[in-house]
Symmetry: C2
Subunit: 206 residues, 2 copies
């Protein structure tokens, strides 16, 4: 059933080239908006050659999404119950902001998928992701109950961190259009702002 695949040098190189090109194209146009011709051209391969390495358009897209998930959940996984509550959450938010800056294509790929109803990753959301979020929400709630963190809804705190950080990747065009800066200086300002925002809201008052 499971054939032993050759996995030659060429295989590895071309499959990686295709993944890279597909990430560019899918993240910019979404699944239906992307075409195999675009991906083939971006990868410098012919269209039939693409389909020699991946059985279908869906297969390429699916591989990108599943590869993405691991990296995507890692920062939240790193939230440490043993650390200082405010600093842990702050570090999480800033780590997510770093990812928005360094991996904007991955963020947009994900955003495209969710905005259009997550037809291909609903299982992962209600399964692995929900499980992780619920677990960390429990940790956050415990911190609040212990008076080490302001009392906030843990789920909505996490949503707001996702929203404020991924916004800089997903809505990058809008952000740049309004700030009219060609470089990425504004990420420093974003870091300062989010630090203030969450430190203010999370530091226990008592």
């Amino acid at each position: 059933m499971n054939q032993a695949k050759p996995v030659t040098r060429i295989q590895r190189r071309n499959r990686e080239t295709i993944r890279e090109a597909a990430l560019d194209v899918f993240s910019q146009h979404g699944f239906r908006g992307a075409t195999l011709d675009q991906i083939a051209q971006a990868a410098g391969l012919s269209k039939p050659n693409l389909l020699y390495y991946f059985p279908s358009k869906e297969a390429i897209h699916g591989e990108l999404l599943s590869h993405l998930m691991t990296d995507w959940l890692e920062p939240l996984r790193a939230l440490d119950e043993a650390g200082d509550p405010v600093e842990e959450i702050l570090a999480y938010a800033l780590r997510k902001l770093d990812m928005a800056q360094e991996l904007p294509r991955e963020s947009r790929l994900f955003a495209n998928e969710i905005v259009q109803g997550a037809p291909r990753i609903m299982d992962m959301i209600t399964g692995e992701l929900k499980e992780l979020v619920d677990e960390k929400a429990k940790v956050i709630r415990a911190w609040s109950d212990a008076g080490r963190l302001a009392s906030v809804d843990p789920h909505h705190l996490i949503f707001s961190i996702w929203a404020t950080t991924q916004h800089y990747a997903d809505f990058d065009i809008q952000v740049r259009g309004i700030l009219q800066t060609g470089n990425t200086d504004h990420f420093d300002d974003a870091r300062r702002f989010l630090t203030h925002l969450y430190r203010s809201a999370l530091t226990p008052t008592r």
Copy 2:
């Protein structure tokens, strides 16, 4: 040049039916992912009939986007220099959250457009929108300078409000998947959370 169009009852009714159906379809699939057949079926009309009322797919999409803009900018326009700073900004955020709840399709239509590089509304972003944002940013900065508001980067404050509120429309599937509630109760929790978040961060400390 500008023909006097009949604008009969039927015209008004069918054009409205088409707009409604197109908003459903475009907001869910994006411009390229949406098809005229889908829109026609959703509107209960034949495809040629659609094109009797609108000259092209782009024309329908364009009309939706331009109609959207007015409503979309209104809450920010309403930010009143003469009001109480913290309450004004809070009211703006909550107004945006209401819109995410009541007009999620419009939010997703906009999100789809921006995520994919805003090919059709870049002018509006760097023009009308930027102008309005810069104007209101000046007001916010003045409030901060007068000690009536915590000192924050006005642009990033506005971005964060957009992000946190529109997230509930654009990523609705994800939010529901994680909270696993079929109803919209979670908007009340979101309102409480955002109120705390922005009140904490914006109330001057002195």
